[in-house]
């Protein structure tokens, strides 16, 4: 434990920098940021850091744990990517050090996957691609059992991470790599993956009770409408030419959505074209086209809650509005200092409360193996691959 206040809701925060000397009492705050389709990231802010060791921290393996009560822990496994010391002479010494503050930015273990490479992947499915990449790094993985075959995927000067992301996004999947586990999921089916689910409570939902509880909404900043930061929300009519020279077509419609409730109406239908090898490939591209843009988006700051992860579903209730209901968690940022712990969630939905969510069949998330450090590299402690239906 590095710090914990006397408040019963205060989390136990542990930070370990492997193989270097650290005065852990100088740690002032920690953030852990997890987002779909991105590497995990953490920052550690030191105050009065001993200057002699600053540069020794670069590249060092890091472990951070945030434990709140009996609930799920937030764990971060990664490496110090860079460190930004700030030395302002006019401010004098802090803890007898001229380094008043320093922020160490740490990237998740998946940052190992960022070396550019050149190769082609011939006649491969997504599970085959994931298995080859994951096992080459000693990672575990979970991927939908998707039989679609890419005739060719070109990896030209991009990393294994980027080729994986490119393949996932093209066919409508999201990707996270927390610790040493690659998790690929269909955002429209994630509610039944049974990742941690929480209800975020508004002031009204708490019936005026202003006592502390995890997951109380402190701020809700919404962006509602078909014009979003991810692009404009449309239905799509796709046209392509397959390998035999036949014109192929595919469309999205008002059945192509998460089905958390009643679809927020998509006003327009855009035309799009794609180079494809088959009708199946065009269907995949069309199906993916609606999965990145959602008409209702929000950033919610709550009292600290360690449970949600990207891919989780949260419920917002008691705003007495059309946007009450289920939202997909796309990013989670935990911000902990010695005096407070808040969680910032990036969430999206395409549904209103108009009707009940529809059930889809998909396997539940299986707990992956814990990471271990081997030659200063994080890897899964046992081989684990889950190709789920």
């Amino acid at each position: 434990m590095i710090f914990k206040s006397t408040h019963p809701g205060s989390p136990d925060v542990s930070v370990v920098l492997s193989g270097v000397s650290v005065d852990y009492t100088t740690i002032q705050s920690v953030t852990v940021d997890m987002h779909e389709n991105m590497h995990d990231m953490a920052t550690i802010t030191f105050s009065g850091l001993i200057p002699v060791g600053i540069t020794d921290y670069i590249g060092v393996p890091v472990y951070i744990s945030i434990a709140a009560g009996v609930r799920q822990n937030v764990e971060f496994f990664g490496y110090v990517s860079f460190i930004e010391p700030l030395m302002e002479t006019r401010k004098g010494l802090v803890n007898n050090s001229p380094v008043q503050s320093a922020v160490a930015t740490c990237m998740g273990a998946s940052y190992d996957m960022t070396l550019p490479k050149y190769r082609t992947w011939e006649k491969t499915t997504l599970p085959q691609l994931v298995e080859k990449i994951a096992t080459s790094y000693g990672y575990s993985y979970a991927v939908p059992n998707d039989s679609f075959v890419w005739q060719r995927l070109l990896q030209n000067g991009i990393s294994d991470w980027d080729i994986l992301l490119k393949a996932c996004q093209a066919v409508g999947y999201s990707l996270t790599t927390s610790a040493t586990h690659i998790h690929i999921y269909d955002p429209y089916k994630t509610i039944f993956r049974q990742l941690p689910y929480v209800e975020l409570v508004t002031v009204k939902g708490a019936y005026g009770d202003i006592q502390y509880a995890p997951g109380r909404i402190m701020e809700f900043k919404g962006l509602f409408g078909n014009t979003t930061l991810d692009g404009i929300v449309y239905n799509y009519d796709f046209v392509g030419l397959d390998s035999t020279g036949s014109v192929v077509k595919a469309s999205t419609n008002n059945e192509s959505y998460s089905k958390y409730g009643e679809l927020v109406e998509r006003v327009n239908t855009a035309e799009a074209t794609a180079n494809v090898t088959s009708q199946e490939m065009l269907n995949k591209f069309a199906g993916a086209s609606t999965k990145t843009n959602y008409p209702y988006n929000a950033t919610v700051v709550t009292t600290g809650i360690p449970d949600p992860v990207p891919g989780s579903v949260v419920k917002i209730d008691k705003y007495a509005s059309n946007f009450d209901g289920f939202w997909l968690v796309r990013g989670v940022k935990h911000i902990i200092s010695r005096s407070n712990y808040v969680t910032e969630l990036t969430i999206s939905t395409d549904s209103t409360t108009g009707k009940e969510y529809e059930t889809v069949t998909v396997s539940a998330f299986k707990t992956p193996p814990v990471p271990q450090l081997s030659n200063n590299q994080w890897e899964a402690s046992v081989d684990f691959g889950d190709v789920y239906v």
């Binding site: 490479k117 050149y118 190769r119 082609t120 060719r152 070109l154 990896q155 030209n156």
Partner: protein, 108 residues
């Protein structure tokens, strides 16, 4: 949007009886990946495919960023021209035979 640039490629394998052409495009896929040239837009004449020599340098392009179809950028022989050329060769052979016959006094 993919912009269809052209790339230089090295011919790794070619076969004029099947039309198969395999190339390396080092600037795109490194030194080890070998890509097949698409048959789209190519035709065999009299059972023979026009193919480049192994080891030669050719220009290729593609219609998507994954190089799903790689095309050989070449000046395709026009079938009519090819037939004319064959006829000229036949006529030349006949003339040579006729000349040889004259020299040997066959037509005395």
């Amino acid at each position: 949007m993919f912009d269809n640039p052209v790339y230089r490629a090295i011919v790794h394998y070619s076969d004029s009886s099947t039309g198969l052409i395999r190339v390396r495009v080092p600037v795109l896929s490194g030194a080890s990946s070998i890509l097949d040239i698409s048959y789209i837009g190519r035709t065999a004449y009299n059972g023979v495919w026009a193919v480049p020599e192994i080891g030669s340098q050719i220009v290729v392009t593609a219609d998507d960023a994954n190089l799903t179809n790689v095309f050989w950028v070449q000046v395709a022989p026009v079938p009519a021209t090819a037939v004319d050329l064959a006829e000229v060769l036949v006529r030349l052979n006949e003339l040579e035979l006729y000349r040889d016959a004259l020299l040997l006094g066959v037509f005395e």
